[in-house]
């Protein structure tokens, strides 16, 4: 049982390292893009709201695998070359995940009591100031639990990159098949690897949930 892991340590180590890199890079990028889109959706400019709404409605109803397929097989046909499959995966995950983060941010902004923003405006703050100094800092505390769910889903979604030539954890079974190793044990070890990554995130989420429930 253990030899499957120890004999192929190189494969597992590199695979999970790539998974973690994918997760961290696309996580940060989607947080930035998602927050930006979230502010679009509450802005006073109708066109910006339209952009945000359209983006969310389209991406939330598109399978992530299709986004991947379009970027990997379609984009090169219109001469858009990304540096590597890894970066195609980062872009696909970011485009998809930011739609969900946008929704979380928007619902978080809506939980802020109107008195807060009214007070901000009363002392002469602009929309941007109200948003960045008063609303978003409070909203981010309220949305930590749903935000963690989105990030957990992102971590699990990185496995889809395996279908598109990225050698991350999801691609280990195919490589192990070439080495003639036991597939089921390989999958058990991959599952354990993912649990090691995800369980701390789940506990972090529960903790944030309890903390915000009290506040």
């Amino acid at each position: 049982m253990f030899s499957v892991l120890t004999d192929n340590w190189d494969l597992f180590g590199q695979g999970f390292w790539t998974t973690i890199k994918l997760f961290l890079i696309s996580g940060v990028l989607s947080l930035v893009l998602g927050t930006l889109l979230g502010t679009f959706r509450v802005s006073p400019v109708p066109a910006l709201r339209g952009v945000g709404t359209g983006y969310v409605n389209i991406l939330r109803n598109t399978p992530l695998t299709l986004v991947f397929a379009f970027l990997v097989f379609g984009a090169p046909k219109m001469n858009i070359e990304l540096p590597s499959f890894f970066w195609s995966a980062v872009v696909a995950l970011t485009i998809y995940t930011s739609a969900f983060i946008c929704e979380v941010v928007r619902s978080g902004i809506n939980t802020i009591p109107p008195g807060q923003t009214e007070a901000g405006r009363a002392i002469g703050m602009s929309f941007i100031q109200v948003l960045s100094v008063i609303v978003l800092p409070q909203a981010f505390r309220a949305i930590q639990p749903p935000l963690m769910s989105v990030l957990i889903a992102l971590l699990k979604n990185t496995t889809i990159a395996a279908g598109f030539s990225v050698a991350e954890a999801g691609a280990i079974p195919a490589a192990m098949a070439e080495r003639g190793e036991n597939q089921m044990l390989t999958l058990v070890w991959i599952t354990i690897g993912f649990l090691i990554l995800i369980v701390p995130l789940i506990f972090l989420q529960r903790w944030a949930e309890r903390r915000t429930a009290v506040a």
């Binding site: 066109a47 109803n61 399978p63 046909k77 949305i143 749903p146 496995t159 597939q183 369980v199």
Partner: protein, 288 residues
């Protein structure tokens, strides 16, 4: 929404209008760039689109779509059953039922869906179980979505006001009756939007079948896109497929939103208590 900014005065109105035009121009510019790019690389050439006129190709697309719907439909039914069974187990009074059920639900929610499908796919190859990729997709979807639905069912039942349960016990109903006659009928209307949203997720996730060679819509699209004689029409094919996926999922999403609006209206009419914090948390939890 309006709480974030004052009702715009003349200056703000002007500024918003200018910004509006700028944004529209930017979006139009982006669209124009994409169209230009597509046109410059010949993606609108008729040789890349001509295959969609052939009935054989249309039938192939339709078969792919039917395979997608078949897997989604079967998995949805199985996931509902699994969700009901595990939700019932999770609210059981017996610890030896509750604890394993909780463990199973938490485990399958934490494992990436693709890995779940791999278990059936590679397991079948290794032990010669004769499971086709179709079953790998269906079982994978069932285990994951069944666990999520179990959570939705459980949370829905828990969100029914406590007084309902206490009153039912007070008039001497057994637990089975309390849940079946009092809690479930009230919980279901509240849960319906979340259930339909989860079905959207399930439908989208059938596209993972592409990776384990199940001939669903995306898999068919890859084959069509790879045809040399039509100039590798990946982009035209993906545009067609994207329209199908987005159309189907949007319809389901609209249904979910309609149901949500309806249950909210009903709550207002009957004067029932506003949705509890737990309910708000589950509805804010974006299904992925």
């Amino acid at each position: 929404m309006s709480a974030l900014y004052d009702v715009p005065g003349p200056r703000a109105q002007l500024r918003n209008r200018v910004l509006n035009v700028v944004v529209i121009l930017l979006v139009a510019g982006a669209v124009a760039w994409v169209v230009y790019r597509l046109n410059a690389t010949g993606q609108f050439e008729s040789r890349r689109w001509v295959q969609f006129q052939y009935t054989a190709i249309q039938r192939q697309l339709l078969d792919g779509l039917l395979n997608t719907l078949k897997a989604a439909g079967l998995a949805a039914v199985l996931a509902m059953i699994m969700g009901a069974v595990f939700a019932a187990a999770r609210i059981s009074d017996h610890k030896w039922v509750r604890v394993p059920a909780t463990f199973v639900v938490e485990l399958f929610r934490a494992i990436p869906l693709l890995i779940l499908m791999f278990f059936f796919y590679y397991g079948s190859l290794q032990y010669h179980l004769g499971l086709t990729p179709f079953w790998a997709v269906v079982f994978g979807l069932t285990l994951y979505n069944g666990s999520v639905l179990a959570e939705i069912f459980r949370a829905g039942i828990a969100a029914v006001p406590k007084g309902q349960r206490e009153a039912s016990y007070a008039i001497g109903l057994r637990k089975n009756q309390v849940v079946r006659l009092v809690l479930l009928p009230q919980a279901i209307s509240a849960m319906l939007p979340a259930i339909v949203s989860q079905l959207v997720v399930l439908l989208k996730d059938t596209a993972l079948g592409f990776i384990i060679t199940y001939a669903e819509l995306l898999y068919v699209a890859k084959q069509m896109g790879g045809r040399l004689q039509y100039g590798f029409p990946y982009i035209p094919t993906y545009i067609v497929v994207a329209v199908i996926y987005i159309g189907l999922c949007s319809l389901l999403s609209l249904l979910a939103r309609y149901l949500e609006g309806r249950s909210r209206r009903r709550r207002k009419i009957t004067g029932a208590p506003p949705p509890s914090a737990a309910e708000a948390a589950t509805s804010a939890e974006a299904p992925l």
